[in-house]
Every structure is written in C-alpha cells, then in structure tokens.
C-alpha cells in the first residue's frame, strides 16, 4: 500500500458533560489511501461520527482531543487552528451529512449554495461559479439540471437534496470525502442511486472516501476495507469478504449475525441467547374456519390538495396471521396503518374487524368503542413515541387506565411489572423518563404499551427503522415470540424487505398508494412478478462480495 492520504493514530477524544468526562474515542487508528474507500461501521454511540468530526476539526466545544495524531497529506493537523483547517475544509477534505435537507440552507437556491462552496476557495465570478454548479449537478445526474439550479431545498426530494450535497462536497475536488450515513432515511432504490453516483465520482477523481454507516450490507457493497468500531475503539479492520466470512472479533460476529440477509431467520439474528429461544411452533390460529380478523375493502384516502395517499387498497389478515406492508416513502403504508388503527378517517372503503365495520365509526369516537383495545400500534421512532413527561410506567399503564378502567395503584404496578417482564424490560427502569432510556429500551416500552391491553391486531409501523441492527435483532425476536405466545395478528409496515420476509407470511407491495403485488412473502422474494418489486429487491445492499458493482 502506498502512503496513506489520511492517517489517524491512536486518537482519543473526550467530552465534558455534567456528569464528568466521557471518553468518546479511546485509541482509534485508521488510514485511507487515495482511490480507496474505507467503511467505518458500528452502532450508535460507537464513535463513528466523532472520528469524522475530529478529522475535519469540527468537534463541538465540549469535545477535546486528548491523545493521538491526525495526519493528512503528511501534515499533522491534530487540533489544528482554524487558519489551517479552513482552507482544507471543502477544498481538500469535505463531508456529506446524514440529513441532507437539514444540511442545506432552506432559503438559498441550490445553485447558489454550490456556487458558494466554489467561491469560498477559488476566485470565481458568480456566473462562472454558476456554470460550474450546473456541471456539478449534471455530474450527480439530477434531472433537468438547468431548472434545479434555481430550486430551493424544499422543492427537491430527499434523494435529490443528497445529490446536491454531494455536488457541494465535490465542488472543489477534494482529495478526501467523508460520508456520514449519507443514505440513512432514504429509500433503498434512492440509496442505491446515490451510492452509485458517489462511488463513480470518487473513483473517477481518484479520491479517498470514508463511508460511515450502520448498515453492514452497504459497507460490504461499496467499501474496499471496513473498520468495525465499538465503544470508541476500532475492534477489527478487514476487507469485506473476509470480515463477513470470518469475523474475528466477538462484536463483529454479533453484528454480522444481527444483520438480516437473504437466508436469515429471526432466530439466527441473535447469537448469544440472552432471551429464551423462540419455540418454532407455527403461530396458533384462533377460531379456525372463521372469517378474517381484518378485512380491508377498497380503501381510499384523499388528502386535501388532491393527493391520493391510498388508492383502492383491499387485503385481509386472518387471526394470528402476519401481513407485511412494503413500499417506499410516499407509498401510503403509514397512512394505511393509521386508517386501520382508526387514528384517521378514510375517504371511502370499508375496514371490517372481526365482522364489524369499524370504518363506519369516526376516529373521533373510536376511543369509546369496545374494539379500541383490540387494535394497537407500535410506532417507528421510539424516541418520538413516548411522552417526554411520562415515566415508562405511566406510558405502559395509560392504556390500562383508559381502556380497561383499572385504577388501583398496586394492581397497576403489578400489571406493569408483568408486561415489562414479557417484553424483557428490567423492572427497575419503569420509573425512568424516556430520555433516560436507550433506544432499545424505549422500543420495548412502546411495545409494552401496545400489548398491555392484550390486543388481537398489532400494527407495527416501521418498528425497527430507528434502531441499531443488534437492537433490531432483539426487538424482532421479541415481537416474533410475543406473536407465537399470544396469537397476535401483525400488520407489519416496513421498507426493509429482509425484515418483512422474516416476520410475515404474506406480503403486500405498495407503490403510490396502490397495491402492485400481493402474495406469499417467500414467493415474492424468490420470484417477484412486477418490475417494481424486482427493483426494490435488487436495491437491497447485501453481503455477497461477488455482486459488488
């Protein structure tokens, strides 16, 4: 290997917080050469982003480099003053961020923002910079680049915003690009396009790239080497094929196992059995031969302004059955879940639950309906789904109070303990507020609240989308166990086909509010009938290193 472009040696960073100093990085060493793509993977809190920010000299004020060296092009830039870093940032090293919409200035057209980046480092006239911006927009393959030049960020989709970010990052042809979770929050197909563009452009320009991601599949597909981080340390660095076939470190092994892929099952995700292994009995069917538990007929939802969110959707879920609802953002899956949960009124169509047309009951009155307790929902982002002023206990017993009319303090306490035990939440955490819980613990509280009243249908709206893979594995495991234990039916909404395939017997693929494919999950997975389903499947990043683009 030639001389590395950037090398980070034994870097240690600590943050001053109100509870004393916290070691964010404890001896991180990385190196990346020109033309190489280094993946940095790890879960939240492992120090991936801190490493990137320290390299760019963008640590927030509470953070301090306590040991180690950062060498860029042979020059020591560890904690370098602004006069040294400013000319480097954007020109020699640049960064793309996780949320492209938040990273762009909402009141400036994207063309001007690209021109700004250029003019910060080069003496260019505005017209020359704008012309260069147009070329950059063409390079990231934005449709109608002439028109987009004058567009504002809110007029562009998330994927397009990220392309604009990429063109800003590449504007001054830096030698190093740090991409911090560049595709988190984007649809799989958009993710693929964005990543293909980034890799193509960096390769053309012989740039080095550091790709920070929590998605092992993505790292495997686009990186030459991968560094695995855990708790502020690099535990393993290897090329993708070796890392995935023979992970050396225990953490890497767990991480690799927890990432769902083609062949995995819910049981195979969790290596160390901290939870009792799920009995692989088929889910019990209640009332065999009876009608379906949920029957959706010709459901339509129009939003003001003429947007058709849900367009003539019909499907059924039997008692104890699990149905997956898959599609990209804007496909109407979240709207359907809220319609079924009676949090929103449909425009037309019937929602028949256990023989009763609950679609006829307006959402405003549904809280008084006896069936309210039978349909519960688990939300996407565990942080958003818990009332910040409620303890875990309050959140869990709220439905018991409201729907079962329980009020005795000791009885509620006992019920809450029971439920917490069922979802694997340590009982001493019941008195904590949401901000004192980890993501996985919050997810458990959310699930506990939903199952507290023993519903018959559980709607899961992207229940693991905001979680780390290892937490996701445990939560999926838990959901699967709950379903087998209590014969719950699932309406599982997700954009992650791998997860849906493991969790659901049948699958509904949605596009623009309408069903494009409907059938047995495994069958759709093996032989998708429509182009859209094929495209979705092809866009999933996977471990198979031979399939690398």
């Amino acid at each position: 290997m030639n001389v590395p472009l950037l090398s980070v040696d034994d870097l240690a960073v600590e943050f001053a917080t109100r509870n004393g100093r916290v070691q964010a990085l404890r001896g991180v060493s990385l190196a990346v050469s020109p033309g190489e793509t280094l993946g940095v993977v790890g879960e939240s809190g492992s120090g991936k982003s801190v490493t990137a920010f320290a390299t760019m000299g963008l640590l927030e004020r509470a953070g301090r480099i306590t040991a180690g060296r950062i060498v860029f092009r042979g020059e020591n830039i560890t904690a370098a003053p602004r006069s040294v870093m400013q000319p480097l940032r954007g020109a020699a090293m640049s960064m793309i961020f996780q949320n492209p919409r938040a990273a762009l200035n909402p009141i400036r057209s994207v063309g001007l923002q690209i021109a700004d980046a250029l003019r910060a480092h080069r003496p260019l006239s505005l017209s020359a910079a704008t012309a260069a911006a147009l070329e950059l927009l063409k390079a990231v393959r934005i449709r109608d680049p002439e028109k987009r030049l004058h567009a504002y960020p809110h007029e562009l989709s998330g994927g397009m915003c990220q392309r604009v970010m990429i063109s800003i990052a590449l504007a001054c042809e830096p030698a190093l690009l740090i991409a911090d979770e560049p595709t988190t929050g984007l649809d799989v197909t958009t993710q693929k396009t964005v990543m293909d563009i980034v890799t193509k452009l960096t390769r053309e320009r012989d740039m080095a790239m550091i790709l920070i991601t929590h998605d092992l599949g993505l790292a495997a597909q686009y990186c030459d080497r991968i560094a695995v981080m855990e708790q502020g340390q690099v535990v393993e660095t290897a090329d993708p094929s070796r890392l995935f076939s023979q992970p050396q470190h225990g953490y890497t092994r767990r991480l690799v196992a927890a990432s769902p892929r083609r062949g995995s099952t819910v049981a195979s995700l969790v290596v160390d059995a901290t939870m009792p292994a799920a009995k692989m009995a088929p889910p019990p069917m209640r009332k065999p031969g009876a009608g379906p538990l949920l029957d959706i007929r010709n459901l339509v939802k129009l939003f003001p302004g003429g947007v058709t969110a849900v367009n003539d959707v019909s499907f059924r879920i039997g008692a104890g059955e699990s149905l997956g609802l898959v599609g990209e953002s804007g496909s109407g899956k979240s709207t359907i879940s809220r319609l079924v949960c009676r949090l929103m009124n449909q425009t037309s169509g019937e929602i028949i639950f256990d023989g009763e047309d609950i679609g006829a009951i307006p959402e405003r009155d549904f809280h008084r309906c006896a069936l309210r307790r039978d349909i519960q929902i688990v939300f996407q982002d565990p942080s958003d789904s818990l009332n910040p002023r409620f303890t875990a206990f309050d959140s869990i017993v709220d439905p018991l109070r409201r729907l079962l009319g329980e009020s005795g303090a000791t009885a509620l306490r006992a019920r809450a303990r029971d439920i917490a035990t069922r979802v694997g939440l340590p009982i001493d955490l019941l008195d904590r507020f949401p901000h004192q819980l980890s993501g996985g613990q919050k997810a458990r509280v959310g699930i506990a609240r939903a199952i507290a009243v023993d519903p018959r249908l559980l709607i899961l709206d992207e229940p693991t989308a905001a979680l780390d893979v290892s937490v996701q594995a445990v939560v999926l495991h838990l959901l699967d166990r709950l379903r087998r234990e209590s014969g719950l039916a699932f309406l599982f909404v997700s954009h992650d086909l791998n997860v849906v395939r493991m969790m659901c017997e049948r699958l509904v693929v949605l596009q623009n509010g309408a069903i494009v494919e409907h059938g047995v999950s495994q069958a759709i997975f093996d032989e998708p009938q429509t182009d859209y389903a094929r495209e979705l499947l092809a866009a999933i990043p996977h471990f198979d290193p031979e399939a690398r683009a």
Binding site: R18, R373, L386, N387, F433, H435
Partner: protein, 282 residues
C-alpha cells in the same frame, strides 16, 4: 424524588447564577407582598400633614409624601396589590390562552384560521390603548384592570400554545395516546399542554413583569386603582408633581420597586424553563 428535584434545581442554578439571584429577588418580593401588612412601620394610608414631604431619614426610610404618609410602608403594601393584579391577569390569560391556542394547534383548519385572524386584530391595536379603552368601557375598577391586562396578553399565549402544540400533534406519543383510548380533548389537556408548559413558563415569567408595568401604567393615568390606595403607579403619578421642586423620593422609591420587580421576573424566565423541562435532567 424530592431530593432528586432539589439536586436538579441546584444544578441549574449553579450554572446560572443570575437566575438564582432573580429567583431569590422574586421570592423576597412575593414574601414581602404577602407579609406587608405586618411588616410596615406605619399605617400606609394615615396622613400626618405636619410631617409632610420629609426626605428619607432614620424614621421614614423612604421619606414621606405630601400628606405625610410613610413612603416605605406604602411601597411595601403596594407590592401586594400590584403583584396580585399581575399574577391574576397572567394566570387568566395563560389558562385561557393555552386552551384556545392548544385547541387551534391541535385541530387546525377553520377554527385555527378564525382564531388566528381574531388574534391578528387584537394585536393590531396599540396594546396599552386597548387596555385603557377596556377599563374605561368595563368600569373603573381593580378587577377590570385584571381583565384588561389579561385580554391584551392573550394573543401571545394563544400564538405560543398554538405553535408548540402544532409541532407536536403528529408525534408518535400523541397518536399512541389516542390508541390508548384517550379522546382528543384529553390528549390536548393531559398530554400536549403539560409538554408545552416548560416553554410557556418563560413566557409567563416575562409576562408577569410586563403585567406589573401595565397595571402601574393604568393607575398612573388614573384608571383602576384610586387614591388613597397605595399602588406604585399612583404613587409615581402623585409624586411627579413634586419632582420639579427637588422632592425626588416621592417618585424614586416606587419607581425603583417597579423596576426591580419587572427586572427580576424577566431574569427568572430562562432559568425556569431549564428547571421545568425533564429532558434537561440526566
């Protein structure tokens, strides 16, 4: 739990000494106001003409006014009335404003548009003139000062509560509350408004100072409170006649009391928010 709360308050105040100071001043002010009738050395309304217009001295700390009344006693007792007017007016506008604003932010649509335009109309008036007109129309009484001050503060609370509820109404925990069997009304009252409270506490504190000023202003121009009731605004108004002859203490002490009350409530605001928000606790 109580120990943890005190620890948290201690932590916030240590990092924010100005808030601590403002907090101490505000509590002193409230205690003084409550205990004033027992603290005063002289009867605040008893005139004693032979001793009129004495400058501050050992007996009359703040001096005496044109009728020989002790200004120190009058300033102390006036705190009670002024704080009471301000506190009732602010709590009234907070409760009503939070309800209306919360409903607008949650329901949206036509209700929101109508209330929004009404608020715009209210804010288009010069607020002090509006308060004057209201007191004049409702009758020249102390409770009408309270209502007038409450009404002119209402728009701020409505807008504030509306905006804060609006950004939260689509969050998961609000929908979860609905799925747990809470009605729309309950969601607003038990879930959304308590979450908006920390941010509104700042507004309340700032508003208290402002309401004191407003009440004093109204009585300064002769509305609401009537002499001989001790009240800072009236005292300043009465004393203003004597300032040209060098009798500064008639105006200075009630004025200073007014200023320090407004100042300490204004400083208190930010600290309150840090104390009330559970997310700042770790």
């Amino acid at each position: 739990m109580i120990a943890a709360n005190l620890r948290h308050i201690g932590y916030v105040l240590r990092g924010n000494r100005l808030t601590a100071l403002a907090g101490i001043c505000a509590s002193l002010l409230v205690i003084t106001a409550l205990a004033a009738p027992w603290l005063v050395p002289f009867d605040p309304t008893a005139s004693n003409v032979p001793r009129a217009l004495q400058p501050p001295n050992a007996t009359y700390w703040f001096g005496t006014d044109q009728l020989g009344r002790d200004i120190f006693s009058r300033v102390l007792v006036a705190a009670r009335l002024d704080l009471m007017i301000a506190a009732s007016a602010v709590s009234l506008s907070f409760v009503v404003g939070a309800m209306i604003g919360g409903a607008c932010g949650y329901v949206g649509g036509r209700l929101d548009r109508w209330v929004g335009r009404f608020v715009d109309v209210l804010m288009a008036f010069p607020l002090f003139v509006l308060a004057m007109a209201l007191v004049a129309a409702l009758g020249n009484k102390v409770e009408n000062i309270v209502y007038a001050t409450a009404i002119i503060n209402l728009p701020f609370y409505i807008r504030f509560a509306r905006a804060e509820v609006n950004v939260r109404r689509n969050l998961g925990w609000v929908e979860a509350a609905r799925a747990s069997g809470n009605s729309h009304t309950r969601v607003v009252l038990r879930f959304l408004l308590p979450n908006v409270l920390p941010a509104m506490a700042v507004q309340i504190s700032l508003n208290l100072g402002w309401a004191i000023l407003n009440a004093a202003g109204l009585s300064f121009i002769g509305l609401g409170v009537r002499p001989p009731t001790p009240e800072w605004g009236i005292m300043v108004a009465e004393g203003a006649r004597f300032i040209t002859t060098g009798k500064w203490w008639l105006v200075a002490f009630p004025g200073l009391a007014l200023m320090s009350a407004v100042l300490c409530f204004n400083l208190l605001g930010d600290g309150l928010r840090d104390i009330l928000d559970p997310r700042t606790r770790t």
